[in-house]
């Protein structure tokens, strides 16, 4: 097998991967960096982020406010040292993005503008109209072209991590257009491969969000942390699941039920006026809003649609000028996919799976327990999001921790030599190749789309907005069954050129592993916290569960779950307060 040598291999070329690559190039041009992605960098799902990135920049704001919002928003499951570092670094990172050309929206004075966002006490979300992620991704990608030391393998799928002597030695990649596999020897690997929303049927996530990097690290023995915390974004378009940014509400949009009533006031988020007001009503955190929708649905106060019940997002009072200026994509998406022009009509929306708070376990350095392996972005859990991420913290996270993981990886490779283990690593790579080859020989009977649909259905049933022991148990069993049946999967396309059947088969394997950690972690957490709500354990239980769930891989059995203490520095767990007592800024 052909071998490529590099110092740092980065898996995934979205926001975190690109930021990491640039950081390596800037830190030391002598360190070789190879950016590997299954899609061209500008296709990465960072492009779909709409609303913005939070960072303290205005005079009325403080780092402490941002810290408190984030820790409370995460229901105290965040690691507070990481949050403190994050809120401190993010304004610098966003300024750096500005220096690289990111077209941030501006105030008349020429300074960057900020908008209100859910769960944030003060307006602090930087934005580029309603395509913030898109502009950040393209700015990062285009900036990365400036650095000759950044090499890329576009449209290469990473199948396996090479691990020997408790250390990472590289990855095995498959060139999608030829099917050819190559061993990439690297002293360090940074996984920046994004989330796994596609394990659910109704999601804002793109087709590529299949949890490949999470599964790869997990199989290599790195635990996946807090996987039961799956974020439902309250406002997705029915049928497609297309995201309508929280910015819609930040700009003043409201949510109403079938009677035109702002029902959030019934769920501890009121009173409704004055509006817009931060940390209240429609600018509450995502978990609370999605949960409120669930209750309204139970009460029969939602609106039926062919794609499940919906509520209405009302933006009519914002006026055409503001909508065109601040939410042009939202208008286009609503008109096209829902047939509703927000300037004149109510837009039907419902909660939709959006983000994985959990991910590859890393410390504050972005380092995993496996020497030489780092992770950043949605695939990682560092953990600044805890049990519920606040909107506009993830774009910041991928910058701050993409850069930090990269700096630490650079330090690591400078103090490390390749181990003299080429033969062993090569043998591992050959094994990885034979596993793929075996798929071509398999006489299996299970279909990839069939298994995927079954997986999607059971995840929605057992791991939705509200969960019960019986439902989660059924899902755990079902996923175990699907995992067994996957061994008998049938590859129908035996071409070696751009074989997307093969890709989907490999991706499905990853999705099943990730789904299993979500279900089993959810089963084991017998409390309600943030995005994990149990009808059979309605209260938060800080005595037993103020801890991170850690899911460990078992090739033959279910994941083993143990727990890790949360890092608490200055904010003791308390009640999350929104609405009346939250003292959010009035916009």
């Amino acid at each position: 097998m052909e071998i490529i040598e590099t110092d740092i291999a980065i898996v995934g070329a979205g926001g975190a991967g690109l930021r990491a690559a640039i950081e390596v190039a800037e830190a030391d041009p002598n360190v070789k960096v190879l950016l590997i992605s299954k899609v061209y960098p500008m296709r990465s799902h960072t492009c779909a982020a709409e609303g913005g990135a939070a960072g303290v920049v205005k005079d009325n704001d403080t780092l402490e406010y941002h810290f408190n919002d984030t820790v409370g928003g995460g229901d105290w499951l965040t690691d507070q040292d990481a949050v403190e570092y994050f809120v401190n670094e993010i304004p610098k990172e966003l300024t750096r993005m500005e220096h690289w050309g990111c077209p941030w929206s501006r105030e008349d004075s020429g300074k960057v503008a900020v908008r209100p966002f859910g769960g944030m006490k003060i307006m602090r979300t930087w934005f580029a109209a309603d395509k913030t992620g898109f502009h950040m991704l393209h700015t990062l990608f285009q900036t990365s072209l400036k650095y000759p030391t950044i090499e890329r393998l576009d449209e290469y799928y990473v199948t396996d991590l090479m691990v020997e002597d408790g250390r990472v030695h590289g990855v095995v990649v498959m060139e999608i257009r030829t099917g050819k596999m190559t061993l990439v020897r690297a002293k360090a690997v940074i996984i920046c491969s994004g989330g796994a929303g596609k394990i659910f049927p109704f999601t804002t996530n793109g087709a590529i969000k299949t949890g490949d990097g999470m599964a790869m690290a997990y199989r290599a023995g790195v635990p996946l942390k807090d996987m039961e915390f799956v974020q439902y974004h309250p406002t997705g378009l029915p049928a497609t699941g297309i995201l309508l940014t929280e910015g819609c509400r930040g700009e003043g949009g409201i949510l109403v039920n079938k009677d035109g009533y702002r029902f959030l006031q019934d769920y501890g988020l009121g009173p409704p006026d004055p509006w817009p007001r931060l940390k209240a009503m429609e600018l509450g955190p995502r978990d609370r809003l999605s949960q409120a929708f669930w209750h309204e649905q139970k009460k029969g106060r939602t609106i039926p649609s062919p794609w499940g019940d919906v509520m209405h997002l009302d933006m009519r009072h914002l006026g055409e000028k503001k909508i065109n200026e601040r939410l042009p994509l939202i208008r286009e998406l609503s008109r096209l996919y829902a047939g509703a022009d927000p300037v004149h009509e109510l837009v039907p929306v419902r909660p939709v799976v959006h983000y994985m708070m959990g991910g590859i376990h890393t410390n504050i350095d972005g380092a995993t327990p496996l020497a030489g392996l780092y992770a950043a972005g949605e695939c990682a859990c560092v953990s600044i999001n805890g049990a519920n991420r606040l909107g506009s913290n993830s774009l910041g996270e991928l910058l701050v921790f993409g850069a930090r993981a990269a700096r630490n990886a650079v330090d690591y490779v400078k103090s490390t030599e390749y181990l003299n283990k080429v033969k062993t690593i090569q043998a591992q790579a050959e094994d990885a190749q034979s596993r793929v080859k075996a798929l071509f020989q398999s006489q299996g009977t299970e279909s990839v789309p069939g298994l995927r649909k079954e997986l999607n259905a059971t995840m929605e049933e057992g791991c939705g907005i509200y969960r019960t022991e019986a439902e989660i148990k059924a899902t755990c069993d079902k996923v175990t069954e699907i995992r067994a049946r996957y061994k008998d999967v049938k590859l129908e396309d035996t071409s070696t050129v751009f074989n997307t059947d093969l890709l989907q088969t490999l991706e499905l394997g990853c999705m099943i592993e990730v789904a299993q950690t979500v279900a089993v972690s959810a089963f084991e957490r017998k409390e309600s916290r943030g995005a994990h709500q149990r009808l059979d354990y309605e209260k938060r239980d800080d005595v037993n569960y103020l801890k991170h769930s850690m899911a460990h891989f078992d090739p033959d059995g279910d994941p083993r779950i143990d727990y890790l203490d949360v890092v608490i520095t200055k904010s003791q767990p308390a009640e999350r307060i929104y609405g009346a007592g939250a003292e959010g800024q009035v916009v």
Partner: protein, 130 residues
């Protein structure tokens, strides 16, 4: 190598027949030829004028002949095509920004037609037609 990318060549001589858009493009490109012919005819006329009344009369005779008239009708039609095509393109090449607003293309195109109408009227008055 298992790859074998397939190239579809665009015919150098007939590519413009593959889409209506390209046909219109060719039409307005060809229109410039007629505009050039008209300019050439006018320049010849100028020379003939300098050569004396007889030469000038001869040129006028050609212009008024059936061939001359047909040619002028053709030139007129193509000039209109030419004018419309380029007026339509002006807002793309000439983007005018006033503060935060981009001046709408329709306004720019409209202004061009306005000026065209004014100049035409002026010429017609000068020629005593209107």
């Amino acid at each position: 190598m298992n790859r074998k990318p397939y190239r579809r060549e665009l015919s150098k001589t007939s590519w413009f027949m593959t889409h209506q858009r390209y046909k219109s493009y060719m039409l307005h490109e060809i229109s410039s030829l007629f505009v050039a012919i008209y300019a050439f005819i006018l320049i010849i006329g100028l020379f003939r004028l300098g050569e004396g009344p007889e030469a000038w009369e001869g040129w006028l005779g050609f212009v008024a002949s059936p061939i001359g008239v047909i040619l002028h009708v053709l030139i007129f039609v193509f000039s209109i095509i030419h004018t419309m095509a380029w007026f339509k393109a002006v807002p793309q090449a000439m983007r005018i920004q006033r503060g935060e607003e981009i001046v709408p293309g329709k306004l720019i195109v409209g202004a061009h037609y306005g000026v065209l109408a004014a100049v035409s009227l002026f010429v017609l008055i000068l020629a005593g037609v209107a």
